[in-house]
């Protein structure tokens, strides 16, 4: 009995000594983006598990949230002082605002290997050329026009070169019970990000009209913006966009296009990988909007695009060199060529920001089109990357009212300008 007790005590002492001498793990508090069912979330879980296995001294202590829940939690955590060390973030008025306000943006540039990252493809995000987050891809194209080529051909038409070509399809589409252009008009942001951002740049001929208007160099009540808003009225009148679009949400829009209920769909590039009907996906063409009536040559063929979202270390994370280095090590793993290729295949990014990246030859057709679009089209401002709060809310709801026939373009434009000045 005595021997057993001594042995047990000895084992306990040994265990205590081992635990005491083992190096403590570096914990990187992280906010990830995704859910357990989408590619972003599934890949996140896989990457973290693999990284932790390869680096047992680092613990990526993450919280995985998606969409509105993510934005809510970011604000709540920052306000409560519970600042993560590493987080999914952006650098614009929507994705970057809470981090900027909290003073948590950290310049990654000095820590990024110029032999690994292609700085020509990473836009400057701060006034001194800082890089607040490492973007997943080159940009987020928000105003892509998806065309079901087979469906359009079945009605006797070809890919449109002008808006009038699209309008000409309306009677034939209506006769078949099809929508011409499907948009998730129930989402206020879709009108701004996915349609109006392109229209204002095209009609004004200024790729940065929106950012200049937010700075006060232009007014949202200027004729060109009123004319741009009036384009929605015209689209409804022409039958290219149905007024019922205001009752179509994100999922229903995608479903309409995937189920061949619409000839075209308006959305961002990121939705390309979500067209689940393989026949439709194989017959889909991604394009910039064709020539609009009254558009200026300076911005012809342009698309509205925002700085891509990515992961970034916060100032709180950078404060401790051990945590900062662990987070940088994880980022290097996260942005590896293999993972970037996977993101490209999933449709999550347009083009990588890595040097010496070899684009695989066997990419899906839609992904190749996306890369082509990113390489060929001029990029212009996305509205909600610059305009936020009450003016942006009024603009989004105003465009929905215009589509529903409840407001005029001038009234909405004046309301937005009044709120911006306030």
């Amino acid at each position: 009995m005595k021997k057993a007790t001594v042995l047990l005590l000895g084992l306990l002492l040994l265990l205590t000594a081992v635990l005491a001498t083992a190096a403590p793990k570096v914990v990187v508090k992280t906010m990830g983006y995704g859910d357990n069912s989408n590619p972003e979330g599934v890949n996140w879980l896989r990457i973290v598990a693999a990284f932790e296995k390869a680096n047992p001294d680092i613990d990526i202590d993450f919280e995985l949230l998606y969409d509105e829940a993510y934005h809510q939690k970011v604000v709540a955590r920052l306000a409560a002082g519970d600042v993560p060390h590493l987080a999914y973030m952006g650098a614009d008025a929507r994705w970057g605002a809470p981090w900027k306000e909290a003073g948590q943006q950290f310049d990654h540039k000095p820590y990024m290997d110029p032999k690994y990252y292609d700085f020509k493809l990473i836009p400057e995000m701060g006034p001194k050329g800082e890089i607040w987050e490492i973007p997943l891809g080159t940009s987020n194209i928000c105003t892509v026009l998806y065309m079901n080529e087979k469906l359009v051909k079945s009605l006797g038409f070809a890919a449109p070169k002008t808006y009038q070509d699209i309008a000409a399809m309306a009677p034939a589409a209506k006769a078949k019970g099809l929508d011409v252009v499907s948009i998730d008009g129930a989402d206020g942001w879709a009108w701004g990000s996915c349609l109006m951002s392109m229209v204002i740049a095209r009609l004004s001929g200024d790729a940065h009209w929106v950012s200049k208007a937010v700075e006060g160099k232009y007014k949202f009540s200027d004729k060109v913006f009123v004319d741009s808003l009036a384009f929605i009225e015209r689209m409804v009148k022409d039958g290219t966009i149905a007024s019922k679009s205001v009752l179509v949400d994100y999922g229903a829009n995608l479903s309409n296009f995937s189920n061949e209920k619409a000839l075209f769909m308006v959305q961002g590039h990121w939705i390309a990988g979500s067209i689940e009907n393989p026949e439709v996906a194989n017959n889909t063409l991604m394009m910039a909007w064709p020539k609009l009536p009254g558009e200026k040559s300076a911005t012809a063929g342009s698309v509205a695009a925002a700085i891509s979202i990515g992961y970034g270390i916060t100032k709180a994370g950078a404060a401790d060199p051990k945590v900062r280095d662990a987070a940088l090590k994880f980022l290097q793993y996260f942005y590896s060529h293999a993972e970037t290729t996977q993101r490209l295949r999933d449709g999550a990014i347009i083009a990588p920001v890595l040097k010496n990246f070899k684009v695989p030859d066997d990419l899906p057709r839609l992904v190749k089109q996306k890369v082509g679009l990113a390489q060929s089209a001029m990029n212009t401002d996305v509205i909600d990357a610059f305009l936020s709060g009450a003016p942006n809310d009024a603009l989004n709801a105003g465009m929905q009212k215009i589509a529903a026939g409840q407001a005029t373009a001038r009234k909405v434009a004046e309301e937005v300008e009044a709120l911006r000045r306030k």
């Binding site: 989402d187 009752l247 179509v248 009212k401 529903a404 409840q406």
Partner: protein, 304 residues
């Protein structure tokens, strides 16, 4: 101090202090913090210095048309709860209690079923029902013979609360029905028998016996309905989409959320949001006091 008094004091403190501490930290501190925050320009997200601005946030609020719009919607929700859910719940409970329908257990389960579902699931379901060419729109198209008909009440500020009110009644009536039914089952059956022997009709039994006996329960249910309606956020948030429908249906908690958590153009957004949340509490207390006053005038809850 005598030894016995000292022991009593220690026992007293031992019993009171833990509960009081929890109350102060979890309940009192956030309330006081919110009140303080609403009188300042402090932004906890930004941190740094702050200054007292007096009633600036409250003045801004009463000049903000969005506040009055949200308040109007909130009062509509209160009205739907008090004059919709409670009477319907009471009537259903009475029907089940008096066994006026067959398969009472089945109906009881069906009416209470929404309470087993997540509010977000229910909100999403109603949103799907009301979407373009959704089930409700299809029904309208069949009834009107117009294939372009859509259910567009959600798109107009003046009509948006009708579908939302309907969904609120569908979701919460079951709860009040169960509360009333449980209390009805405690009523002495001999009282009803006596009323019947005296020749009372079913409506007389309902209005002159059951309603007065359950007046206290009705008062409690009204208080719960008012408090619940004023802090109601989830169902309306889930039923609407960011943009026109949510702005149309905005109630005070959503207005508070939009202001404090989304309006980056307002550097005092957290202070403004706190002012809104404080006003929600004030309105809630005022309405509950009013309902208690009316209850007293009607002798609700008195022993019979």
């Amino acid at each position: 101090m005598k030894k016995r008094d000292y022991q009593a004091l220690v026992a007293y403190l031992g019993l009171v202090v833990p509960g009081l501490t929890v109350y102060l930290v979890i309940v009192a501190y956030p309330i006081l913090y919110s009140m303080w925050l609403s009188l300042t320009d402090f932004n906890p997200n930004r941190g740094g210095s702050w200054s007292l601005v007096g009633l600036l946030q409250y003045r801004t609020m009463i000049q903000d048309p969005a506040f009055w719009h949200a308040l109007k919607n909130n009062l509509t929700v209160v009205a739907v709860s008090v004059f919709g859910q409670i009477p319907i719940g009471f009537a259903l409970a009475y029907i089940l209690f008096r066994k006026l329908v067959r398969a009472g257990r089945f109906y009881q389960s069906m009416v209470f079923l929404p309470h087993f579902l997540s509010t977000i699931v229910i909100g999403t379901m109603w949103k799907r029902l009301f979407q373009a060419d959704g089930p409700v729109a299809r029904l309208l198209q069949i009834l009107s013979g117009d294939p372009t008909s859509q259910f567009d009440l959600m798109l107009r500020a003046e009509t948006v609360m009708y579908p939302i009110g309907f969904a609120l009644i569908w979701m919460y009536t079951g709860l009040y029905m169960i509360v009333f039914l449980a209390n009805m089952q405690k009523i002495d059956a001999s009282m009803i028998e006596a009323a019947k022997i005296d020749g009372a009709s079913e409506p007389q039994i309902f209005f002159r016996l059951i309603v007065p006996l359950l007046s206290g329960t009705i008062l409690v249910a009204t208080t719960l309905a008012i408090a619940g309606s004023l802090r109601g956020f989830d169902l309306i948030f889930a039923m609407t989409t960011q943009g026109l429908t949510r702005m149309n249906a905005e109630v005070l908690p959503i207005f508070m959320y939009r202001t404090a958590f989304q309006d980056y153009s307002n550097p005092m957004r957290f202070a403004y949001g706190s002012a809104i949340s404080n006003i929600i509490v004030v309105i809630s207390v005022a309405l509950i006091l009013l309902s208690n006053y009316i209850g007293r005038r009607l002798h609700a809850g008195e022993e019979h």
